[in-house]
């Protein structure tokens, strides 16, 4: 087994992609039951190289290049989990998770409840998600709401290298199934990661920028966009509080509610279509919890209710800092 990580300084500047790779490596070193499965994850190291080098170091039994069948990957992961393994599945792109949908919704999500707790399902399903990379159809989607609506699943989205490094290890250690969403267009974003630190809990939101006027919620790739918007807003004398939701199921809304009670205004941002996107749930819950504090309805900035468009149109489709600021303006004017 490799000891590659041991010889390195505790704090290094890592991309999200490399942080995931290191996190996976560390999880595999820590627990021999961790098995990675997916299409092209072995020799190729995955189309985004997130599993680069792991098959070489851990062998073909622990980093499994599977046949081309997503239901098969997730369904066999269920069996491996029953046998005491901790499978970590890579779905190559967001748009290709649907062949596995039946296994995820009717089996992965339900087996623990079905067995009244006798059968844990410590499966992680990694999905590079979201758009903005100029890809063809099915390579830019944001399917998180489908999973967050499904009881029995936990859903997280990371936005930065630190959360990527710790989050993947925490998701693997979690005894429940976790849909682990990776912001594919931010894979190359860098930050220093202290691998000797004590990580924050996986299932918690985090205030990433303090502010007074409007609370802006985002997750995954949109956190950066929200922060950019806050920067611009600050220049215009407007103070945005930005929350990285981090966990989408369960949602951690306590810090959000505290914030909105202070600011009185809330904007949620995501790439997924607005209708029944995470923003809908958040709006409903925040409104209920903050009814008497709200100066404006919770406003949502998201993808339009259309199939993800051809890449020449994705800039118009995707929320950007201007659309966030537009929503902030509308919230202020309400």
């Amino acid at each position: 087994m490799s000891t590659e990580l041991l010889d390195l300084p505790a704090t290094r500047t890592l991309t999200i992609g490399k942080a995931l790779n290191d996190g996976l490596r560390r999880a595999m070193e820590d627990d021999p039951k961790v098995v990675l499965m997916g299409e092209d994850i072995g020799r190729l190291g995955g189309v985004f190289r997130i599993t680069d080098g792991l098959q070489k170091d851990f062998g073909e039994d622990r980093v499994v290049d599977t046949p081309l069948a997503e239901a098969g990957i997730v369904g066999t992961a269920v069996g491996l989990a029953m046998r005491g393994y901790r499978p970590v599945v890579e779905i190559q792109f967001d748009g290709f998770v649907f062949p596995a949908y039946n296994q995820i919704v009717t089996q992965v999500a339900k087996l623990h409840a079905r067995s009244r707790g006798a059968v844990p399902m410590p499966i992680v399903i990694r999905i590079p998600f979201g758009g903005g990379i100029g890809a063809v159809e099915h390579h830019s989607e944001s399917p998180e709401a489908y999973f967050a609506h499904t009881p029995g699943l936990k859903v997280v989205a990371v936005s930065n290298p630190v959360d990527a490094y710790w989050g993947i290890q925490q998701a693997i250690a979690c005894p429940d199934p976790v849909i682990f969403l990776e912001p594919k267009r931010r894979y190359w974003d860098k930050a220093p990661v202290d691998t000797s630190a004590t990580p924050e809990p996986l299932f918690g939101a985090r205030i990433v920028r303090g502010g007074d006027d409007v609370t802006v919620l985002a997750y995954g790739p949109m956190v950066k966009t929200a922060l950019q918007a806050a920067e611009v807003a600050a220049g215009e004398g407007r103070s945005l509080e930005v929350v990285d939701l981090r966990t989408l199921s369960p949602l951690d809304l306590d810090p959000v509610v505290d914030s909105v009670r202070r600011t009185g205004r809330c904007v949620v941002v995501h790439e997924a279509p607005v209708t029944l996107g995470l923003g809908a749930e958040i709006a409903a819950r925040v409104t209920e919890a903050c009814f008497h504090s709200l100066e404006a309805p919770v406003l949502r900035v998201g993808g339009y209710d259309v199939p993800y468009p051809p890449s020449k149109l994705e800039e118009a489709y995707l929320p950007d800092l201007d659309r966030v600021l537009d929503a902030v303006d509308r919230a202020m004017e309400f």
């Binding site: 069948a69 239901a71 369904g75 046998r83 039946n102 089996q107 623990h112």
Partner: protein, 387 residues
């Protein structure tokens, strides 16, 4: 080389059982089927098959009779209980006792089976308490046994999903270096599901120690086999690169021998096998079903001639392995079992409503804990109001 169109056509013609409109009906005596493993004829005569020699003690033979008779009695009692409103629904195994007991008894300690929703006979063989099965059909839970401990998965209602679980479990067995095998149950209808075929791809690709045991009971609810496949199901396997075999599913000895051989091969690292147990669903699909809408009474009558229990009884009697006292003893045991099942079922307490919140996750979420608390407060307030 040429396209295999002609070969295939000839093959279909030879097998012949698809000639008539009703599968099997044109061939009431199974030995007419050239590709069927059989060790006990419908008349109860023991025949040998060089490929599948079987040593089985007299005690084991009587045990099989006892198992099958008890399971059939259980099944009848469950059907009656459903009629009386004590179960929500019941999926009868009537006619499939040999397939299930033969397969179930072929399993060894450490092996694992993954059932559909009809494998009560396998549950029995694995030592699952019938009341655990009853609690599922009563709507108390989804089956109360611990699957891994019992070596018997939970019933799976989404057709075919369990075949992938079985294959994955077998991949785990492989990684453990264990000398165990996995038995995946499926129906004839299930062979059409994509996931089942993916299970065959994975099993073949990884040479996983899994055996697919397909009870071809000729119907998927109302849909006859021909809609799923025009060629015998056991041939599906060869196209995925592993062996397929058809066994007389109403012959408990043949099923035992064939399943044992396949499990042994799996344990020895030879990879998967597909077994088609050719049998018949003598009853309705479930208690909600009305088979008179889609099949003729005559067909059922013909299959009665191949009854798996009568067949073994004939053999036991004829060969002097069991006498009237033995059969009476089994009947008495069956009656006792029925009483126990009836009493256990009707007396089964309803689960507390909060149970629905408790096993969703291994680590309860604050959200669900809060929802549970609200639920309790609501229920309590409601009781308060009713006072």
């Amino acid at each position: 080389m040429t396209a295999v169109r002609n070969e295939t056509e000839i093959d279909i013609g030879e097998a012949g059982e698809f000639a008539g409109p009703v599968p099997g009906a044109g061939a009431p005596h199974l030995p007419q089927q050239p590709d069927l493993v059989q060790l006990l004829t419908p008349e109860g005569e023991r025949v040998e098959n060089a490929e599948y020699p079987l040593e089985v003690s007299d005690e084991e033979l009587r045990g099989f009779y006892r198992d099958m008779a008890l399971v059939r009695r259980w099944d009848a009692e469950a059907t009656a209980l459903q009629r009386q409103g004590e179960l929500g629904i019941w999926a009868s195994l009537l006619g499939q006792e040999a397939a299930q007991l033969g397969a179930g008894r072929a399993l060894e300690d450490g092996d694992m089976a993954f059932p559909t929703y009809r494998e009560h006979g396998v549950a029995w063989a694995r030592g699952v308490d019938p009341l655990h099965v009853m609690s599922l059909f009563r709507g108390v839970d989804n089956g109360g046994w611990n699957p891994v401990q019992r070596g018997f998965g939970l019933y799976t209602i989404v057709i075919g999903a369990q075949c992938l679980h079985a294959t994955g479990y077998a991949m785990g067995v492989q990684r453990d270096g264990a000398e165990s095998a996995v038995l995946a149950f499926l129906g004839d209808g299930a062979t059409s599901q994509g996931e089942v075929n993916e299970a065959m791809v994975f099993a073949a690709s990884f040479a996983a120690p899994v055996v697919f045991f397909c009870q071809n009971n000729q119907y998927a609810i109302s849909v006859p086999l021909e809609r799923q496949s025009k060629v015998p199901l056991y041939r599906r396997a060869a196209g995925f690169g592993f062996p397929g075999v058809r066994v007389d599913g109403n012959d408990v000895l043949a099923v035992l021998a064939v399943t044992r051989a396949a499990l042994r091969a799996a344990r020895e690292g030879q990879g998967p096998t597909f077994i088609e147990a050719f049998t018949y669903r003598m009853g309705a699909h479930t208690t909600s079903d009305d088979p008179t809408r889609y099949r003729l009474a005559g067909e059922v009558e013909e299959w009665k001639l191949r009854d798996p229990i009568a067949r073994l009884k004939a053999y036991l009697s004829r060969s002097g392995l069991a006498d009237a006292a033995f059969f009476e003893g089994v009947d008495a045991a069956a009656d006792e079992l029925a009483v126990r099942i009836r009493r256990g079922t009707v007396e089964m307490p309803d689960p507390p409503p909060t149970a629905m919140f408790d096993a969703v996750h291994a680590e309860q979420t604050p959200h669900l804990a809060a929802q549970r608390a609200q639920f309790e407060a609501y229920q309590a307030g409601f009781e308060g109001g009713a006072e």
